[in-house]
């Protein structure tokens, strides 16, 4: 008979192996779904995972696009993961992303049309500040009134979306385009344009920032006292308190850091690939980053891999729609499978399946 047994310690092997196993299982189950839709499963999987990187036709364009799509995911997920480790659940990164974009774009539009080297650095500071301030609302409400940061941060996303709409329609609207919402195109304002650092590589300042954030987070989590406190607070909150870790301080730091990074992601997006403040600017990076954080095991290096994997499914998903006429819903199901299989497999990190002989008395 089959018995489940709780492991004394979570299995390190499965922790690492599960994401890879989840990808394989997703390919199999996804392939079956594509076959059921009457499409060639091998071609579909190839278009999703390989062609964006290696196709002669698309590769030279898709590879840089992968960086562009993945950088904000990584930037946001790295910040979120630090909080998640300490059991601080910031679900509202999308809102912090929007506010970062608005603060950054606000600085740019205030200076328009003056050109100056100092404008872009100011936008970066403003972007980080915007996200930070927006995250301080759930942080302070939690530390002062013990409100639930999951709810507050999530609901603030909808508030941020309304502010975004109001800005696109009012204060930040492009005065040269009557009747239509949306700000000036920042890509056409040289001092504010987050341009590619090397042409046709997709490498913009947001990618650089994501890289720095990953290194910074890795060092902090492994070498720094703060990282130790974060881990301790997550794994043994009582011990942490006895150890002198202030829960309130951790809430402020974790939410503030995640908010600032999400704000930066928004600022780099609005001044580069996004180009302008528009009502539909936010397309869910803040939420997808939550999946990236978990898929990456809340580990900075894991997040980089997970970010690229998810970015790949987006870009490859579009390719497979275009080339094979797969419905977009099937791509979303495919992405969902990935998380589903990972969570299901994680079961064996904590439990082991035992085959025992005969019935137990």
């Amino acid at each position: 008979m089959i018995r489940l047994e709780k492991r004394k310690e979570p299995s390190q092997i499965w922790r690492i192996a599960n994401p890879f196993l989840a990808v394989v299982l997703t390919m199999i189950a996804g392939g079956m779904m594509f076959a059921a839709l009457g499409k060639d499963p091998v071609a579909a999987i190839r278009l999703i995972f390989f062609d964006p990187l290696f196709s002669e036709q698309f590769g030279s364009y898709s590879r840089p696009q992968l960086l562009i799509k993945t950088a904000p995911l990584i930037l946001i997920a790295v910040g979120l993961a630090i909080g998640f480790k300490a059991n601080i659940w910031n679900i509202g990164a999308e809102g912090q992303y929007i506010m970062g974009a608005l603060f950054g774009a606000g600085v740019a539009l205030a200076f328009y049309p003056i050109e100056g080297w100092y404008i872009f650095p100011l936008m970066i500071l403003a972007g980080a500040l915007g996200g930070f301030l927006w995250a301080m609302i759930p942080a302070i409400l939690k530390t002062r009134f013990n409100t639930n940061e999951i709810l507050v941060s999530l609901l603030l996303v909808y508030v941020a979306e309304r502010i975004l709409a109001a800005m696109a329609l009012g204060l930040m609207r492009n005065p040269d385009q009557p009747g239509f919402p949306g700000s000036r195109d920042l890509r056409r304002y040289e001092s504010a344009h987050n341009a590619e650092l090397i042409a046709n590589t997709g490498l913009h300042w947001g990618v650089v920032a994501a890289l720095i954030a990953v290194i910074f987070a890795y060092i902090m989590m492994t070498r720094h006292m703060l990282g130790f406190h974060v881990q301790l607070a997550g794994q043994a909150p009582r011990a942490a308190r006895f150890g002198g870790v202030s829960p309130a301080r951790l809430v402020i730091i974790c939410l503030g850091l995640a908010g600032a990074l999400a704000g930066l992601a928004g600022m780099f997006e609005v001044s580069g690939p996004g180009g302008q403040v528009r009502i539909e600017f936010a397309t869910g990076y803040g939420f997808t980053a939550i999946i990236v954080a978990f898929l990456g095991r809340l580990n900075p290096i894991g997040i980089v891999l997970a970010g690229f994997l998810l970015g790949l499914t987006y870009i490859g998903g579009e390719l497979s729609q275009m080339m094979l006429q797969l419905p977009s819903a099937s791509i979303q199901v495919f992405q969902g499978m990935l998380l589903f299989f990972l969570l299901a497999l994680d079961f064996q990190t904590n439990y082991r399946i035992r085959l025992t002989q005969g019935a137990r008395a």
Binding site: E161, L169, E280, P327
Partner: protein
């Protein structure tokens, strides 16, 4: 404004006549799913007709649910890289993205629906005069409402939507001086749950006729359940509310699409800026619901005939702006330029303009 005017005159032929044997590859990018039973369904209907019309001579491909901005730019670039000859971008917000890709692929012909930016000679704009259909809906709604309250679910405050609200209001008001409009903005084209919430709120506020400028069938369904009336959007939505559904503006893009592809295959495609209406058959009204009295059906038919023939323009003065300042003098007809940039309500609408 200046851009719009220069856009109207810009027209340079593309020097790439398609080879006779090669099928013309045509890509479509959609803001919603093809199964929205509304706007995107309308464009995909036209794509299928296009495919049927040309058979093997064309090869169409679609990508649905594409967000504005970087995603749209990437999808269109990949289409161009895969050898697509012609791209139909079927939502207004793709404007900046269409133009940025068009600049890099001068040999690809771009057709941008309800667009307003034309910076390259390979960008064609096309639109339908939805406000003409809205006039008919307003007339019917104004007569059918018993609570004198019409609820309006609006998407984005852009000229096409704003002129639709104004047109519907003016024609409802003309037949029912007591009519009032309640307007809810969703800031989205396709969000069934948000649209259903909006419809419920409007019904709670006393509306017994629901109009929508959003793409899902949610509002029609809510209206059916609540026992009130509704108009569909972009496609005939009668299946989702057999009793509630009075009519709908149905988009018929196919003849236009076929003519543009024909021109491309002949090597005669050039950028244009076309704005077609009821008279051109690009929009038509879904069959009247039987609950509309015969007399009112006749009035509506007459209104359609008058608009189609050009005898009557839905924006004929005197019309004042919401703040009471005059906009059109008695007998004056609105110019296309003014309608294409409309950003105000007309007098009588009590809602606040979103700003």
């Amino acid at each position: 404004m200046k851009k719009l005017l220069t856009a109207a005159v810009a027209s340079v032929a593309l020097a790439t006549p398609a080879l006779a044997d090669d099928p013309t590859k045509i890509g479509f990018i959609y803001i919603g799913p093809v199964g929205d039973f509304g706007w995107t369904a309308g464009h995909d209907r036209a794509r299928q007709e296009l495919q049927d019309h040309f058979g093997d001579a064309v090869e169409t491909s679609i990508v649905e649910n594409v967000d504005y901005g970087a995603d749209a730019e990437r999808v269109m670039t990949q289409m161009a890289l895969s050898g697509t000859d012609m791209i139909f971008a079927a939502s207004f917000g793709y404007g900046p993205d269409v133009n940025s890709v068009a600049g890099r692929f001068p040999d690809v012909a771009f057709q941008h629906a309800t667009g307003y930016i034309q910076e390259h000679p390979n960008v064609s704009l096309y639109d339908a005069r939805f406000y003409e259909g809205r006039a008919v809906l307003g007339h019917i709604g104004g007569k059918m409402t018993e609570t004198n309250t019409i609820g309006y679910i609006a998407s984005f405050p852009i000229p096409a939507v704003v002129s639709g609200i104004n047109s519907a209001y003016l024609h409802a008001k003309a037949v029912n001086p007591d009519v009032e409009f309640r307007i809810i903005w969703t800031y989205s084209w396709f969000d069934p749950s948000l649209e259903a919430d909006a419809a419920e709120t409007l019904i709670e506020q006393g509306a017994d006729v629901i109009m929508q400028h959003t793409d899902s069938t949610a509002a029609v369904r809510v209206a059916e359940d609540a026992g009130v009336m509704a108009f569909g959007q972009a496609s005939d939505m009668v299946d989702f509310g057999p009793t509630a559904h009075l009519s709908a503006i149905v988009d018929r893009w196919a003849p236009y699409y076929i003519s543009r592809v024909e021109a491309f295959k002949e090597g005669e495609w050039e950028a244009q800026n076309s704005w077609l209406g009821l008279g051109d058959g690009i929009i038509e009204m879904a069959p009247w619901n039987d609950r509309i009295p015969a007399e009112l059906q006749e009035e509506a038919d007459e209104l359609i005939a008058a608009i189609s023939s050009g005898e009557y323009h839905p924006f004929t003065g005197p019309i004042n702006r919401q703040d009471g300042t005059p906009w059109l003098a008695d007998g004056e007809v609105a110019e296309d330029g003014a309608l294409a940039t409309m950003d105000f309500y007309v007098e009588g609408i009590t809602a606040e303009f979103p700003n």
